[in-house]
């Protein structure tokens, strides 16, 4: 596991997003065991309490579950994983729309630009 951290943002949020992404793209699958706090702290050179907090937040969001005496696992509910995907896509979209609006684009123009860009990309792929 390797993450390029941005020290300007809370580290626990960056690790949470990283783990969520790993789940969405399937590197971590439903029901997979996730590393222990110490192990991950050492690998990422991060304070163990920060990792602890990351896992607690992931548990609170029911993305990760603790099995007594066994460790932490990715949730086995596939629907939860779909939710994360939607949520992360929503965040990306929100940021994009806000940025475009700040540039002065109206809603209709944004839709046109996006659909044009998607078609361009399709063409480029051939």
């Amino acid at each position: 596991m390797s993450i390029e951290f941005d020290n300007n943002l809370p580290i626990y949020l960056q690790i949470m997003n990283y783990i969520k992404k790993e789940i969405i793209i399937g590197n971590l699958k439903a029901g997979d065991k996730i590393p222990a706090v110490r192990e991950l702290a050492l690998e990422l050179q991060i304070n163990p309490n920060t990792i602890q907090r990351t896992f607690q937040e992931l548990e609170r969001e029911q993305i990760v579950e603790t099995r007594r005496g066994l460790g932490r696992y990715v949730t086995s509910e596939e629907s939860k994983i779909m939710d994360i995907k939607k949520e992360m896509a929503g965040e990306l979209l929100g940021r994009f729309i806000q940025g475009m609006q700040e540039l002065g684009y109206k809603e209709k123009d944004i839709i046109t630009i996006v659909s044009d860009a998607v078609q361009e990309k399709d063409k480029a792929k051939g």
Binding site: N7, P10, L42, Q45, N49, T50
Partner: protein, 232 residues
């Protein structure tokens, strides 16, 4: 919650110049604290007072609720900015010296750390590079099962590889029941291992906060915050 280290209104001066001005600070168990400040801000003075090596002019200092003295020295492991080992020693002599001196010295942990640090027991202390010497000092300091660890500038003057190794060792070998305070002015390289930071400027605490709070509330790294506070 019980505090590991507590300073209340601590002042200290050297030949009329105030080094610490009414410093009050509470450190809870299980934390890695960055004590940050430019040269001469009072970091070493604060650590030496917490260790019991020098006496404050006024104020009270407690470790684990007990006023600093013989009892607290037994649970405080201090790594000074100058090596404690003698030039004639080999690494194994330095280990023996610490084992004889401190009842809480853990030989098994020391062996494990020596291997981790790639230090040979037969290596001469006087022939160690600056980076290897810092590794040895850290091994000696962290091999004690103390309540409070105080590391004075453990990464000053060592190259990035040795620095990474030292940070790895800190994360790996500190115990969760104790607290560890690291003084440094090299903030960027080390800020990810901190829970909290204390900014010490001209003998006064100007900021004490959780690092994630600084990032969340100000959208800034601790390093940027440091430059802002200490910039001239």
């Amino acid at each position: 919650m019980e505090s590991v280290l507590q300073l209340a209104d601590v002042s200290k001066s050297y030949s009329g110049k105030l080094a610490l001005k009414q410093v009050s600070l509470t450190i809870k168990p299980g934390k890695i604290i960055g004590l940050l400040g430019s040269n001469g801000s009072g970091k070493s003075t604060l650590m030496k007072i917490a260790t019991g090596l020098i006496q404050p002019a006024s104020g009270t200092v407690k470790v684990g609720g007990v006023p600093v003295g013989i009892e607290t020295r037994a649970v405080t492991s201090f790594m000074p900015d100058q090596p404690l080992s003698e030039p004639w020693m080999r690494v194994e002599d330095a280990i023996d010296f610490y084992r004889d001196f401190y009842a809480d010295f853990d030989s098994a942990k020391a062996d494990e750390m020596l291997a981790f640090m790639k230090l040979g027991k037969k290596d001469r202390v006087s022939s160690l590079s600056k980076g290897m010497s810092e590794r040895l000092q850290l091994t000696l300091t962290l091999s004690r099962n103390a309540k409070l660890y105080l590391l004075d500038e453990p990464i000053g003057g060592v190259d990035p590889v040795a620095r990474a190794k030292i940070l790895d060792a800190i994360v790996n070998y500190y115990s969760e029941e104790s607290s560890l305070m690291v003084s440094t002015h090299l903030v960027r390289d080390i800020e990810r291992i901190f829970d909290e930071v204390v900014f010490l400027k001209e003998g006064e605490i100007v900021l004490h906060d959780e690092v994630e709070n600084i990032r969340l509330a100000h959208g800034k790294s601790v390093d940027e915050m440091f430059k802002e506070v200490f910039g001239e």
